[in-house]
């Protein structure tokens, strides 16, 4: 049974300039113990869809989905208290900005013990012991002393380790990591990614890694979902995706990787992700796509079958000959 199943998820924000659809008909599947990477540029709606799963969107957002189940439970039907028993417990999330994601008024130890107090029936001593154990797991030296520190006394990398310790405190079945390394130094980035994959292997939890970095994807993920302007445009195993991308956007992203560059100048994707006021008709990627024709610009593309990476494209790349015929 899959751990997380989402069908047709859409999220719309009410803004002063009218409604804005940040996530558009997205499907997500994660199996227990699997690492899924969700890739896309800024503004592609990858964080928003996961915040919707967590129930953390502001009141201006409207969430609709045909299905949204975690571990067999329908997240849409849960009451507030019932949802809060799952969130932070079996379903945990860490965020992009470790420095601002921890409350400056409380010690990091307090903030972790608080999660333990809410979701477990450990006593005070057990909670303290668990905190020390967690800090050792995430590689924070001198745990007893660090537990008494305030977030601003720790570095960004340390704070992200604290966030991870807090997220895995109650042994979640699924951990969502929203660009966990973007705000960190390059050397620390690799450490945090290694830590996340190691913890994932140790505990057997599912891991969703939201990132815009294809390099990160290649190193860590098992399966990749590519998002563009709120839509999922492709979904494949990581090796297959790198070998035979089916959506032109994926192909362009991969071509922009320095490791794959064949020419002297690094290829780029012209233009920017469409915003609220300039959404094209038809395929959302058509203004930036080198293969686009009038069909692409006029008609919304279909979702291709599994064999073609569920690409949302009229003319998927690397299609077997018989499929094109």
């Amino acid at each position: 049974m899959p751990l997380l199943t989402i069908r047709n998820l859409s999220v719309t924000f009410a803004t002063a300039q009218g409604p804005f659809r940040a996530v558009d008909k997205v499907d997500v599947d994660v199996n227990p113990g699997e690492i899924l990477a969700i890739v896309g540029e800024s503004g592609s709606g990858k964080s928003v869809s996961m915040l919707a799963v967590m129930g953390l969107l502001p009141w201006t957002a409207t969430v609709t989905a045909d299905e949204m189940t975690f571990d067999g439970r329908d997240l849409r039907a849960l009451s507030g208290p019932a949802r809060r028993r799952i969130v932070g417990n079996q379903l945990a999330m860490i965020f992009q900005e470790p420095m601002s994601s921890l409350n400056p008024c409380f010690t990091v130890g307090f903030q972790i013990r608080e999660a333990l107090k809410k979701h477990t029936d450990m006593d005070k001593a057990a909670r303290q012991a668990r905190c020390v154990e967690l800090f050792e797991m995430v590689g924070i030296p001198a745990p007893e002393r660090r537990l008494k520190a305030f977030p601003h006394q720790l570095s960004g990398g340390m704070n992200q380790r604290v966030m991870i310790a807090m997220a895995i405190a109650c042994k979640p079945r699924l951990l969502i990591a929203d660009e966990p390394t973007t705000a960190l130094d390059v050397t620390i980035q690799a450490q945090i990614l290694d830590l996340l994959t190691a913890l994932q292997q140790e505990t057997g939890m599912g891991l969703i890694l939201i990132t815009h970095d294809m390099g990160v994807v290649a190193e860590t993920a098992e399966r990749v979902a590519v998002q563009y302007a709120g839509q999922k445009v492709e979904d494949q195993e990581v090796q297959a995706l790198f070998d035979t991308p089916h959506h032109p956007y994926t192909a362009a992203l991969l071509a922009a990787l320095p490791e794959r560059a064949t020419e002297r100048r690094l290829p780029t994707i012209p233009g920017v992700v469409p915003g609220q006021h300039d959404r094209p008709a038809g395929c959302l990627f058509s203004p930036r796509c080198r293969y686009a024709d009038d069909v692409c610009r006029g008609t919304e593309p279909p979702v291709q079958p599994d064999a073609l990476g569920r690409a949302r494209c009229h003319y998927p790349l690397h299609a077997p000959q018989e499929a094109q015929a």
């Binding site: 809060r84 932070g88 965020f95 994601s101 008024c105």
Partner: protein
């Protein structure tokens, strides 16, 4: 923390000297001869004028006058009232408890109502309750309190006859000052009905005085809460599955309190300004009424001394708030 304390103290000293200089300058430098004013309509003979000038030291160079004034201030000597001939220092401290009692009660009312109102409004942002509360707060904030006082007198003292119009306590009661706070002294005196009388005298003035700080605190708490509620760490707290009560009441309020404490502290200045109007209208025998009366009587040493003392009190309160701010904000406390 010690460094923070010392840096605050370092700005306190020059400001204190400046405040002394200004209250000194007001009377000596600006146009208008204090002795002529003091003599009033009867006028003064030339010999007597010179005599008075040297008596008050007005014949000395300005910087000598200031130096003498300043060293006097440091020893608690603010001169003597032209009218009563009592030391300004003594007059100030015999009236100050009345103002303090009124201000403390007002700030308690303002905080006890304003803080919860702001939190509730922020949490229910955009809903009916928020809009009703914030409209009321804006009306309070825009209120000309001298008119508000008259209106309350018309309704509660005139039409309903519930509260007295002026003073601190009924004429029937007499007892010695112990603390200077009428509420406490009336209890200590043991006289029947004295405490009730003190309360009924205090109620309208303190409501009037609390009005603007109440509105300011409610508005500031709301906006501080709204700002904090959009912070990343609130999302983290919610991601832990904490209840809304804990997220809002602990994680958000603790951070929102930092600016709100500052606002409460800063409203002491507003409060003392408000006390001038409130005390005048309710004939409350505190320093506000004393200052206004002295201004009209051209009792310059009193105006000068009172101005200085009030400024120093505001500065001390601000310094305390700054230090308190350091205490509740761990970013400053633990460096």
């Amino acid at each position: 923390m010690l460094k923070f304390f010392l840096s605050r103290l370092a700005t306190f000293v020059p400001t204190f000297i400046g405040v002394t200089l200004i209250s000194f300058a007001f009377i000596r430098v600006l146009p208008g001869d204090p002795i002529v004013v003091m003599a009033g309509e009867r006028g003064v003979s030339a010999e007597r004028y010179e005599e008075l000038r040297s008596q008050y030291g007005f014949d000395q160079p300005l910087w000598v006058q200031f130096w003498e004034y300043f060293t006097g201030v440091l020893q608690g000597d603010l001169g003597e009232s032209f009218i009563t001939n009592r030391p300004v220092w003594d007059e100030f401290f015999s009236l100050f408890p009345a103002t303090m009692e009124l201000s403390i009660v007002a700030i308690i009312i303002a905080t006890a109502l304003g803080l919860p109102a702001g939190v509730i409004a922020a949490v229910n942002r955009g809903k009916f309750f928020d809009r009703a509360l914030m409209s009321t707060a804006l009306i309070g904030y825009s209120m000309p309190i001298f008119w508000w006082a008259l209106l309350l007198i018309i309704v509660f003292s005139g039409n309903l006859g519930w509260t007295p119009v002026s003073g601190r306590i009924g004429l029937l009661y007499y007892f010695d000052d112990v603390t200077g706070f009428m509420l406490i002294d009336s209890l200590l005196s043991g006289q029947k009905g004295a405490f009730t009388s003190a309360v009924s005298h205090l109620i309208l003035p303190s409501i009037v005085l609390a009005t603007i700080p109440l509105a300011v605190i409610a508005r500031q708490t709301r906006s501080a809460m709204l700002e904090v509620l959009s912070e990343d760490y609130i999302r983290t707290a919610r991601a832990k599955g904490l209840s809304p009560g804990r997220v809002n009441g602990l994680h958000a309020l603790r951070n929102a309190m930092i600016p709100v404490i500052t606002v409460i502290g800063l409203s002491v200045g507003t409060l003392l300004a408000g006390a001038i109007l409130t005390e005048t209208i309710f004939s409350w025998p505190g320093i506000g009424k004393w200052m206004v009366d002295s201004i009209f009587r051209r009792d310059y040493p009193v105006v000068q001394g009172g101005l200085l003392m009030i400024a120093v009190i505001v500065m001390i309160v601000n310094l305390t708030v700054d230090l308190l701010y350091g205490l509740i904000n761990p970013k400053i406390r633990k460096r």
